[in-house]
């Protein structure tokens, strides 16, 4: 089994890197604080005697390639170390550090793998600073050209490529080489299902589709006191109608569809001026691709109607679009087997969050292992998973890797 104290200690150490004065964890992709997190991770990889490689999009790899190797296609484990704003300490880091932990454990065991085993920390999984999310793994999987990705402009006006150069993580390797034999990602669930059902482990067999759009509505600035309601072209009011529409629609449906408006900005943002511009994001998700398309179409129809009814301008930019993914049945079964052998309840499930595994699934058999999130809380400082569950998840990863590394 893995070294529980070492794994838990590293999760806590990494969780302290990037906390601001108010104790909020903010380690946005390619930022100064994320550089500190990367440096720490690289130091651990090196300390474990693994080879370090960084590719052009900044993905970090810790490579164990012993002489026993007969097949060069690596078994890849991993996740990410970037975070949202006001994050918890487990999202991403748990999987990355468990990948390293599993490799160290197998080396100490004296395992003779038939293929390299690699732990990956993919760049910009959260997508908060640069869209789309899962960018590093998407580029790795060939779904986005690396030069296009490096030219992405962030919410803060920075360019990803410049920032990677600045923090010293613009590597030389061309992304996507080598193509993995298989990819397994361990992650906290971030949702309420496992805890509610009292089940310790999830064998993730699907991941829902994700649609991200940025909407800009333009109206006319005018005086809040003198402009009759009938003469207003209020961009803020039109934006609010989108927010309530999406929520009402998701609530009324009998489907797992979710819709979120997370970012919102009014301009000029002045108390006595009717907003001339509202800029906001729409995050739509559904496990069913057809239904996701219907949700997108319903939003487009609403925006057309608003444009007519409110006499506002509407422009839409697509920030991310990923279809639902079905993971590899063989790996899902290996996860279930490993759980059974350790006497832990396990259920098959769908992931509500996007993950790097969703991208790597395009080029290699992939699957995920979930552990419970207390209260289903994530992207929040209150994100929490019991130590016992963290250790159990890492041991299941260990068992599955041991199987796949020697086959």
């Amino acid at each position: 089994s893995i070294d529980a104290a070492r794994l838990l200690g590293r999760i806590r150490t990494l969780g302290e890197i990037g906390q601001d004065a108010d104790g909020r964890l903010i380690r946005l992709a390619a930022s100064d604080t994320e550089k500190l997190g990367r440096d720490r991770f690289v130091a651990w990889i090196e300390g474990a005697g693994l080879q370090v490689a960084v590719d052009r999009i900044g993905n970090i790899f810790g490579i164990w390639k012993p002489d026993s190797v007969t097949d060069n296609a690596p078994l890849m484990l991993g996740s990410h170390i970037d975070t949202v704003i006001g994050a918890g300490i487990y999202d991403g880091c748990y999987g990355t550090l468990s990948g390293l932990e599993v490799i160290e454990t197998l080396r100490a065991e004296g395992l003779t793998p038939s293929r390299p085993i690699v732990v990956a920390a993919f760049t910009n999984e959260e997508g908060v600073r640069y869209a789309p999310d899962m960018m590093g793994s998407l580029v790795y999987a060939g779904g986005l050209d690396v030069d296009t990705a490096l030219a992405t402009i962030g919410t803060d006006g920075t360019i990803l490529g410049d920032e990677l150069e600045r923090i010293g993580y613009a590597g030389e390797h061309q992304p996507g080489f080598p193509r993995p034999h298989a990819y397994i990602e361990l992650h906290i669930e971030q949702g309420p299902v496992l805890e509610r059902e009292g089940i310790r482990l999830g064998a993730v067999e699907h991941l829902q589709g994700i649609s991200w759009q940025k909407v800009v509505i333009t109206g006319d600035a005018n005086h809040a006191g003198t402009t009759p309601i009938s003469m207003r072209r209020d961009a803020g009011h039109a934006a609010a109608r989108v927010v309530t529409f999406l929520r009402d629609r998701a609530q009324a449906s009998n489907t797992p569809t979710v819709a979120t408006v997370g970012c919102m900005r009014f301009e000029p943002d002045v108390i006595n001026v009717i907003p001339s511009r509202a800029t906001f994001t729409v995050d739509l998700r559904d496990p069913d691709e057809e239904r996701l398309r219907e949700e997108e179409a319903a939003l487009a129809t609403l925006l057309d109607r608003l444009s007519a009814e409110e006499q506002v301008g509407v422009s839409v930019e697509r920030l991310a679009r990923f279809e639902p993914v079905k993971f590899d049945q063989n790996i899902v079964r290996l996860i279930e087997e490993a759980a059974r052998e350790r006497g832990l309840a396990c259920r098959r499930m769908t992931s509500g969050a996007g993950h790097d595994a969703q991208m790597i699934a395009r080029i290699a058999p992939s699957a995920m292992i979930f552990v419970p999130s207390i209260g289903g809380i994530s992207h929040n400082p209150k994100e929490y998973t019991d130590d016992e569950d963290l250790v159990a998840g890492a041991n299941i990863l260990l068992d599955v890797v041991r199987r796949l590394a020697t086959e």
Copy 2:
């Protein structure tokens, strides 16, 4: 009559002070750019041979007190030179510069006034940086203690008193002395009424009530992909419900009630995080005090309902509250007479915007003169009034002042 070229030239000169790189006019109260505007105005006052006085809240006075004076209570003209963000060049400056223009004209004419004539530029009329609006004139009228006002914290975290010190406009005079004999303010209408009716002048006999509140809604940050709709405490959605409620209610009513949400901020403002906090402003106005109270009560009821239905926290801060004002009938009649004598169509009307006259009306007979705003546009760079109308308005002010200065 006034010197049209001098007045129009000054309006344009002042309108260029505070334009940013994009040509947006931003001269927020007690800011660096407003200091430049104040300095220009003071230079013109001094150039006209008037005495300059600045009071503790930063109100600037240009005083003409000839030897002929038999009554010390001055006739006061004025407005303000601070602006909103993305302002037009007329709001406030037109009245301030016309006040100076009228005094210069009367001096040149050789008028022998029986009382001092004073032009005032009141501090922070817009209320954009520091609430409440009309702060300088409110303090002058005794409606707000000067030390309390100076301690006001701005939307940018600054303290008004510190900023006035910094820009050199923390004067020594105690606000409110001298108490005016009468106050007249010339202003652009900022609304659509005069232009729509083809009338050149408004004799403003009422000013509607103003209620400003800042609302903070708190929910729970959580993951946009994993959190079922039924488990969300979405502060952004609750805020959007307030925006649509206020608009629907104002639209459905058969009253002149207006409601505006001009400022809106989501936190953490991240695409895949359910907003944990939404902070926004509510600007409610009505010419009828009882109806304004009903609107405030309806908002309070909605906020209570939201707190229960959406399981969010709600806190409300009052930023400004002014009752409707009835101006002095005698001055209103003088304005009508002056218009008649110059052969200009004039109508009595209500002001939709708040004005310094509304505050000074507490301590002296006051009224306002309006000229048309093209398209009813204000608080917008497109704010525009024809030169001919600007000149006509200033001449009416001249005629009324000539009457009141000698009575």
